[in-house]
């Protein structure tokens, strides 16, 4: 009878974390910023149908990076949890904090008990109304929850992008300024990103009950100062 090899728990956790981080680093990054009217989420995403940023509830948005099928499964679970809670109690009782905790439970559980950790990093954002503050909850592959102020970056190059964003972010920025800051931080010094490669959505306090809204390519172009219709035409590669 063969004895299983002893592997130290530290090693097991480290291997899993490395595996998850590697998976996450393969995809493109995403930035979320608090601006004057709410929260802006800007993702680098060439697909216009497979979304990284989506609506969860009236004031709550979800964003994910890493393996698409895994964060999409989490997104749908979030929509379900929020709709069930709003139906059972009231729409006002659905909040990002409790949702972020539930996500953390699931990710933590999967990280320690399953064969393979989830290769995702997710964001749960809530726009505050009637003077309540906006909230950004950044949840890592192992269930760690970070409550971020001002802005946050998800993905493989998060630290470099966050450093660039640190210099550009200001309290009470206008939407288009926030978008420009996010795009230049995601692109870095050597690249330019056009609307075709971006997915941008806002949680806007002034948008009625459902605060979530996607920005159209035309709106992104206008904010980035690109000539209309020239979005992808200038880069012929």
């Amino acid at each position: 009878m063969a004895m299983p090899f002893y592997v130290a728990p530290e090693q097991v956790m480290k291997d899993r974390a490395d595996y998850a981080r590697k998976g996450i680093a393969r995809g493109r990054s995403l930035a979320a910023l608090i601006y004057a009217d709410g929260v802006l989420i800007c993702a680098e995403n060439t697909s216009s149908t497979l979304r990284k940023v989506s609506e969860i509830y009236d004031r709550i948005a979800f964003a994910g990076v890493g393996k698409y099928n895994e964060f999409d499964q989490l997104r749908i679970a979030g929509v379900r949890a929020a709709d069930l809670k709003g139906y059972t109690f009231s729409r006002e009782d659905v909040d990002a904090r409790s949702l972020a905790n539930q996500y953390a439970q699931i990710l933590g559980q999967v990280f320690t008990h399953e064969m393979k950790p989830m290769e995702v990093e997710i964001l749960v954002a809530e726009v505050g109304v009637d003077g309540a503050p906006d909230q950004l909850f950044h949840i890592l592959y192992d269930g760690t929850v970070v409550d971020e102020a001002d802005f946050t970056v998800l993905g493989g190059e998060a630290e470099t992008i966050a450093e660039r964003l640190q210099g550009a972010w200001q309290a009470g920025m206008a939407r288009d300024d926030a978008l420009r800051a996010a795009v230049s931080a995601l692109a870095g010094p050597d690249r330019t990103l056009t609307s075709a490669e971006l997915e941008v959505a806002v949680l806007d306090r002034g948008n009625g009950r459902r605060a979530f809204r996607r920005l159209t390519d035309a709106e992104i172009d206008a904010a980035l100062g690109a000539p209309a219709g020239a979005g992808g035409a200038s880069g012929d590669g």
């Binding site: 929509v79 709709d83 069930l84 059972t88 439970q105």
Partner: protein
């Protein structure tokens, strides 16, 4: 409340009703699974609150919906400011008549179902799909309807694919009937429907369509005790909404009030001819004694 996480083979999909069943959060049937009672005219033996007349008409840009504000319980007025016209989602609306409790609950579930589908799938249902959803909800409500908790909705929306407004009427079994010109339901629907039928023309303007519905509701309230007319004393007027390419929009109460006042002014006679001749003479008044 457990986090609703399902394995791929066990996934409830974009249906909120199915999700409620899976998680055990579905409310019990209003009929409570009790034996069907053969009560006269299918009325419930319990005092129920009823919502009454709702109407909808197609016009050039889409659909106008309207509903009176009265809820009755037997012969009593239970509520004077009930809402019976609701947005179902951005481009459709639903109006209800019948047992108020189950009706409002049905609307709430219907709204949630459409929003849930839109969020899970990332795109909204087609208008046809929304109408069918309501049909299925009516079908599952049938056992309760048989015990007297009858709910009859109207569904209207702007079909973005066809570029026109559309109207749907239902029956208790979930039967779905698309109407071309107008639809009415509730206790005053017979009178309201007649008024609309006589005044309807193809491609009505927004103003004419709204005035036609106002006239219809006024006449329904005049003939049917369960339908509330404009309440000039308390300033309560029917709820109205248009559904066009721009989406569902409630009419400002001031606009509805102004149009009702115009109608009332138009219909009023200075003094009722019967008032003079038929004044009851109840003996001597306080002045007669002197």
């Amino acid at each position: 409340m457990a986090f609703p996480f399902f394995t791929p083979g066990d996934d409830p999909g974009p249906s909120f009703a199915e999700l409620l069943r899976r998680t055990g959060a579905a409310p019990p049937d209003p009929a409570g699974g009790s034996r069907p009672t053969t009560h006269a005219h299918g009325t419930s033996p319990l005092p129920l609150t009823h919502g009454t007349t709702v109407v909808a008409v197609r016009y050039a840009d889409g659909v106008v919906m309207a509903g009176d504000r009265r809820a009755t319980s037997g012969h009593l007025i239970a509520h004077r400011t009930m809402e019976k016209v609701f947005p179902a989602d951005a481009h459709s609306g639903v109006a209800i008549a019948g047992a108020a409790g189950p009706a409002v609950e049905m609307v709430r579930l219907f709204q949630l179902q459409l929003e849930h589908y839109e969020k899970v799938e990332g795109t909204a249902l087609s208008l046809e799909g929304k109408a069918n959803q309501l049909s299925q909800m009516m079908r599952s409500h049938l056992p309760a309807a048989l015990q007297g908790f009858v709910v009859i909705p109207l569904f209207a929306g702007y079909d973005l694919r066809r570029g026109q407004g559309r109207l749907f009427q239902y029956d208790v079994t979930g039967g779905r009937y698309e109407e071309q010109n107008f639809a009415t339901t509730g206790s005053g629907s017979l009178h309201a429907g007649t008024v609309i039928k006589l005044g309807w023309r193809a491609d009505l303007s927004r103003d004419d369509a709204i005035d036609l519905l106002i006239k219809a509701l006024f006449q329904a309230a005049d003939e049917d005790s369960a339908t509330g007319g404009p309440d000039l004393v308390r300033g309560i007027y029917p709820t109205m909404a248009t559904i066009t390419e721009r989406g569902f929009e409630h009419l400002e109460e001031s606009e509805v009030a102004a149009r009702f006042r115009a109608l009332v002014d138009d219909l009023s006679t200075p003094e009722s001819p019967t008032a003079h001749g038929a004044t009851p003479t109840m003996g001597l008044g306080p002045h007669g004694e002197g």
